[in-house]
Symmetry: C2
Subunit: 402 residues, 2 copies
C-alpha cells in the first residue's frame, strides 16, 4: 500500500484542509494518507482551540487514514525543528511522498530555492548571522538573507517566496526530507482563499483561515460564515468541546494559570525554561505582575528581536514546565504515537508496523519513553486548563472511524 | 513606653483572641501591645481565610497597637522556627514581655518543663532520635520523648502538658526567648472554650475556635453562633472579603492551581521544594494526578511519618515556589515589616524605631531584602488565588486606626 504524508495542526479543520487532504491523495496516488498532527499545543505557541482527540476525529473524517501525534518537542518548536520532527515521523511510517499547502502552489520553485541555498550556503549563512546581530528576529533575518541571495541570482528560474508563512514551512519540509535522505517525493497544493494570518475572509468562497474561524467563534459563536467554511464534523466537534468544557482552548483561558506560574517561578527559575533567552525572563516577570490580560502582557513583553510566535512558544514551555535540559535532550522522534485510524489506516498499520523506523505506540501506558512523558504532561496541563481531569492519554484508546 | 508582644494568626480573630489581647495588657502592664502576625499563609500550612491587611485591622481594633508581619520563612515553618522568628521580632521591637494563650494557663509549669528539658537534654534528645527512627512523625516523637522524661521525674513540680497544641507553641516561645537571651518576661493566658482542633463549639459561651468559625462560615455563612463568637469587626471583615473576592482563602480555593503546579513541576522539580523529604514528591505527584479535591489528595498523600500540618506546609512551599536554598538561606528575621498601627503604636515607633534591633520597613518598595521578596511573592500568589491582582504589598500603606 502506498502512503503519503501531511503535516497538520487543524486548529480547527476547515474546507481548505479538506481540499489539501483530497489533493494529497489525488496528486500522490496514495491509498493511505498519514497525518502527523500537533498535540494540544501548537507551533505558534498556543493552546489548541479544541483538543487533539477531537482534531484527530476531524482528520479521519476528512480524508486522513492515520493520525500520529507530533511530539511536543517538535510541535512547539521553530519551523526547522517542527519540520524535521514531522518529516522524520512520516519517513518512519514508510510514506513515499508528502504534500504540503503553500501560497505558491507549485513544487518547482521550492526545488529551485533548495538548490540555490545549497549552492550559496556560505554566503547565505553569513548574511543571516550579520542580520541577526543587527537586532532583528531570526525569521526576519532568514527571510531578508534569502532575498539578498535570490536577488543576486540571474532569476532564470522561479524561486519560492519565503516571506509567506506556508511557503516557509513547506520549504522546511523539503529541506528536512532532503537532509535526512528519506527519498520521499514532495508535492504541494496551493492554499485557496485567505492567508494564514489574515483575520478577514471571503464570505462567498467558503474559505476562512483557522485564525479567523477561532476569532469569530470566540466572539460570536458558530456563525453562518463559519458554517460555510468548515465541514459539519468541525461544527459538531466545536459544539461538543464547548459543551463539555465551557470554553475553547487559547491563551485567554490559560492566562490566569500562566500568570501565576510566572510570578511563582520568578526570573531566576524562568531562566532555565526551554528557548528562554538572556534577559527575557525579567521582562516576562515584570509584565506578568502588571498586565491583567494576556494581550496586554504580550504587548509589554514583545521586542523587535523576538517574534510573537517565539515568545508564545517560550510561554508554552513555561506553562508545561519544559526546561532547556528536557527540551534539548532529544533531537529526533522516538516513536509513532497513534491518535487514530480509519479501517484503511488499520490495514496499513497491521501490514507494515514491524517495518516502521520507529516503535508504534498505540497505548500511552505501554511506553515509558521520556519524550512521551513530556507529551503526556503537556496534555495533562491542557486538560487542567480546559477544566478536564488529567490522565486522558491513558484513558483514551486510538480513535477508530469508518 | 513599656511594650508587650503577642504572636498571632487571627484566622480569623475571635472573642478568645480579644480576651488574650486584653489580658496581655493587664498582666504585663504594657502601654503598647505589639503583635507579630503570620502573613497570608499560616503555620499549619494553609492559605489565610482572609488576607493579612484585613486581619491587621482586626488586630488593631481589638487591642493590638502595632502589627508586624512574621516573614514567610518563619510563619510557614515548624513550631520551633515559627517561635524563634516571632520572638526575634518582638525582642527587636524592644518588647520587655510577651504573653501567649495556652491550654495550661499558668506560666510555672512551662518554666519547670524548660528546666527539666535543659537538665535532661541528652536523654531527651536521644529518645527523640530513637522514636523518629521507628517511623512516627517528629512532633509525635517530641511529645512521647517528653512524656518519658517527665514520667521519670519525681513529679514534685507541675509540668506543662506538651501534647496540647497551644502549650507546645507556648513552650517554643519560652525556649526561643531563653536561648536568644532576650530577657523578655513570659506570661500566659488560659484559652477559654474549645481547643484549637475541635470543630465543635459551645454555643452559649460565645467562644468558637478559629477552625470551627471557618468551617461554619464556609458551609453556612455567618450564623448566629458565629456572630456570638467574633467581634463585629470580624463579621464586617469577612463580609467585605467575600464580597470583594467571591470566596474565602483556603486549600479548596487554591487546589486547582496547586494541582496544576504539582503536575507541571513533576517529581524531579518538586524534590527541591523546601522541607520536601525523600520520596514524598512521588506520592504528591501520583495523588495530584488522581485526586479531584484537596481533601482526597491529602488522604492519598498522608503517612504516619509526616503530620498533616507538615505536608500542608510543603504544599504551601510548592504553591509559593519556595525551594530549599531560598528557605534555608536565612534563619533569623531581618526586618520589622509594619502592617499597621494605632496612634499609640505610632508614638511608640516614632520614639524607639532608631533603637530597634532590626530595620523598620513601612513601605515594601523601600527594601530589597530577599526575605521580603519571598513574603511579597507569597502575598502575590495569595492575591492571584483569591482573584485579586498582585503587587498589593506595594500599593498598601500600613493600616492606621484610632
Amino acid at each position: 500500500m502506498k502512503a503519503a504524508g501531511v503535516v497538520v495542526e487543524y486548529n480547527p479543520l476547515h474546507n481548505g484542509h479538506v481540499h489539501h487532504l483530497k489533493e494529497t491523495r489525488r496528486l500522490t496516488g496514495a491509498e493511505v494518507v498519514v497525518a502527523v498532527m500537533s498535540g494540544n499545543f501548537l507551533q505558534r505557541g498556543e493552546p489548541a482551540f479544541i483538543d487533539k482527540w477531537s482534531r484527530t476525529e476531524l482528520a479521519l473524517r476528512s480524508g486522513a487514514d492515520i493520525v500520529f501525534e507530533l511530539p511536543y518537542r517538535f510541535a512547539v518548536a521553530q519551523a526547522s525543528e517542527f519540520a524535521e520532527g514531522a518529516i522524520g515521523i512520516l519517513a518512519a511510517a514508510r510514506c513515499s511522498a508528502f504534500c504540503f499547502g503553500s501560497e505558491d502552489g507549485r513544487i518547482g520553485p521550492f526545488m529551485n530555492t533548495l538548490r540555490l541555498l545549497e549552492d550559496q550556503k556560505a554566503v547565505y549563512e553569513a548574511e543571516v548571522r550579520r542580520l541577526v546581530k543587527t537586532g532583528i528576529s531570526y525569521p526576519s533575518a532568514l527571510s531578508r538573507a534569502y532575498l539578498s541571495v535570490a536577488d543576486a541570482e540571474t532569476h532564470q528560474k522561479p524561486l519560492a517566496d519565503l516571506t509567506k508563512p506556508n511557503n516557509i514551512l513547506g520549504f522546511q519540509y523539503i529541506k528536512a526530507a532532503r537532509s535526512s535522505g528519506t527519498g520521499m517525493t514532495a508535492f504541494t497544493v496551493g492554499r485557496t482563499g485567505t492567508g494564514y494570518h489574515e483575520l478577514g475572509s471571503d464570505p462567498d468562497s467558503g474559505i476562512m483561515s483557522a485564525t479567523a474561524i477561532r476569532e469569530v467563534v470566540r466572539e460570536a459563536g458558530i456563525t453562518d460564515e463559519v458554517l460555510r467554511a468548515v465541514p459539519g464534523h468541525t461544527v459538531r466537534a466545536m459544539e461538543r468541546f464547548r459543551e463539555e468544557h465551557g470554553r475553547f482552548g487559547g491563551w485567554d483561558v490559560f492566562w490566569p494559570i500562566l500568570r501565576t506560574l510566572i510570578i511563582r517561578d520568578g526570573a531566576h527559575r524562568l531562566r532555565d525554561v526551554a528557548e528562554m533567552t538572556e534577559g527575557l525572563e525579567h521582562r516576562i516577570v515584570r509584565a506578568a505582575l502588571a498586565a491583567p490580560t494576556f494581550t496586554e502582557f504580550m504587548e509589554a513583553v514583545k521586542t523587535k528581536r523576538y517574534t510573537w510566535t517565539r515568545i508564545q512558544r517560550i510561554l508554552t514551555h513555561v506553562l508545561c514546565g519544559i526546561d532547556s535540559g528536557e527540551f534539548s535532550r532529544f533531537r529526533e522522534p522516538r516513536y509513532l504515537r497513534l491518535l487514530g485510524m480509519t479501517q484503511a489506516g488499520r490495514s496499513y498499520l497491521n501490514l507494515y508496523k514491524d517495518d516502521f523506523g520507529l516503535p508504534l505506540v498505540s497505548r500511552a501506558a505501554s511506553s515509558d519513553d521520556p519524550m512521551l512523558s513530556t507529551d503526556i504532561r503537556a496534555s495533562d496541563l491542557y486538560a487542567l486548563g480546559t477544566g478536564e481531569k488529567p490522565g486522558k492519554d491513558f484513558r483514551t484508546p486510538p480513535i477508530m472511524t469508518g
